[in-house]
């Protein structure tokens, strides 16, 4: 955390309703992405091409994999996902039970995927704790730097009890979606 905290003051926590109010007022229109994480708003104003390419590529592959089966799941790109009253993250990709609520509820999400280039520490740390705490069954972090995918499942309290790493080039076999396999050669 980078907030300078002195006794007597603290950063005020915002709620999802506050975040949406600001969003509708255009407060985030200059940013490429904005998320509310445990009451704090985080933004980025650029998406680098490496990230965008991996994002697009994996979205296509997940879509192909999903079409091969009969799961009651829908592919979402960067859905704002309401996990709790103070957290509205925007995973790069999600597979979720189809839901057309204005904001996708976290309870509909089966798999959340984050593509990480500069954000690996956040995605493996704070984000993993957040998704685990709110019971998202499976979570993948695509580590562009080290060319591997961190696959996590079985959320318990603040963490995922199970995890494995898959090098780019190998197949990722979903742990919680029976039979879903994604190729990663092009990442």
């Amino acid at each position: 955390m980078n907030a300078p905290h002195d006794p007597g003051t603290h950063r005020a926590k915002l709620r999802v309703s506050d975040f949406l109010l600001l969003s509708e007022a255009g407060a985030f229109s200059d940013y490429a992405r904005s998320e509310l994480i445990e009451g704090e708003i985080w933004v980025v104003n650029a998406v680098h091409s490496r990230h965008a390419r991996a994002h697009a590529w994996l979205t296509v592959e997940l879509g192909i994999a999903l079409k091969a089966g009969n799961w009651p799941l829908t592919l979402y790109t960067a859905p704002s996902t309401a996990l709790s009253d103070d957290s509205l993250p925007e995973p790069d990709i999600a597979l979720a039970h189809c839901n057309d609520a204005k904001i996708l509820p976290g309870s509909a999400t089966q798999l959340a995927v984050e593509i990480a280039d500069s954000t690996i520490d956040i995605d493996l740390g704070r984000k993993a704790r957040l998704y685990a705490r709110h019971g998202v069954p499976e979570y993948w972090v695509v580590d562009l730097e080290r060319k591997r995918i961190h696959q996590m499942w079985a959320p318990r309290d603040e963490n995922y009890a199970e995890q494995r790493q898959i090098a780019f080039g190998e197949h990722v076999v979903a742990a919680t979606i029976d039979g879903l396999v994604v190729v990663t050669e092009g990442l």
């Binding site: 950063r11 007022a25 980025v44």
Partner: protein
């Protein structure tokens, strides 16, 4: 300016006064004793206790009397929001301003002659972050009444985000404003 830079690692958002007012109107800060927008971040203050109240009230009474006598057209107000566009809206403990009160309007920073913060646990915050905000907005003079150090840190001559001049006056002595003629505040009893 950050507006021209492009970054792809998440950063805490820098909110504007407009964002802050939207949230305030929607009741987002109902749970807090006091909130300020400081350098784009919403900062909540803890409850204030009796020593803070004592120092703030006594200083206010002495300062208000001195301002009425020495500064024609100026008013002394307690805990009023001061608008410092684009990303600051502090609520100083005491403000000396020539602004005409107006419904729904915060105090425009260019009307402010002197700001006072009373610090119980927040002295380092008030002397660093707050000083940077007030100096950056060219407020001519700023005092921090530091309860633990039992002294008033008096700062003036804002230059590139800092006060170039400062001195310390112990509680009980007289504070003579550095930038306002004949404004003298007796702090006996603090």
């Amino acid at each position: 300016m950050t507006a021209l830079q492009k970054w792809d690692e998440p950063r805490p958002v820098r909110l504007t006064i407009e964002d802050f007012l939207h949230l305030d109107q929607a009741g987002a800060f109902r749970d807090y004793a006091k909130t300020e927008l400081i350098e784009g971040t919403i900062v909540a203050m803890n409850a204030q206790f009796s020593m803070h109240g004592h120092v703030q009230s006594l200083l206010f009474r002495r300062l208000a009397d001195a301002v009425d006598e020495a500064m024609h057209g100026y008013r002394t107000w307690i805990e009023v929001s001061v608008a410092i566009p684009p990303a600051d809206m502090p609520e100083p403990d005491i403000v000396v301003t020539r602004f005409e009160p107006s419904h729904g309007a915060p105090v425009p920073v260019e009307t402010v002659a002197l700001v006072v913060e009373v610090a119980d646990s927040t002295a380092s915050y008030d002397r660093t972050t707050k000083a940077r905000v007030y100096a950056g907005a060219a407020i001519a003079e700023y005092w921090v009444a530091d309860i633990q150090a039992r002294s008033i840190h008096q700062m003036w001559r804002p230059e590139s985000g800092n006060y170039a001049e400062h001195r310390r006056v112990a509680f009980g002595e007289r504070v003579t404003a550095a930038t306002i003629d004949s404004l003298i505040v007796d702090t006996a009893g603090l």
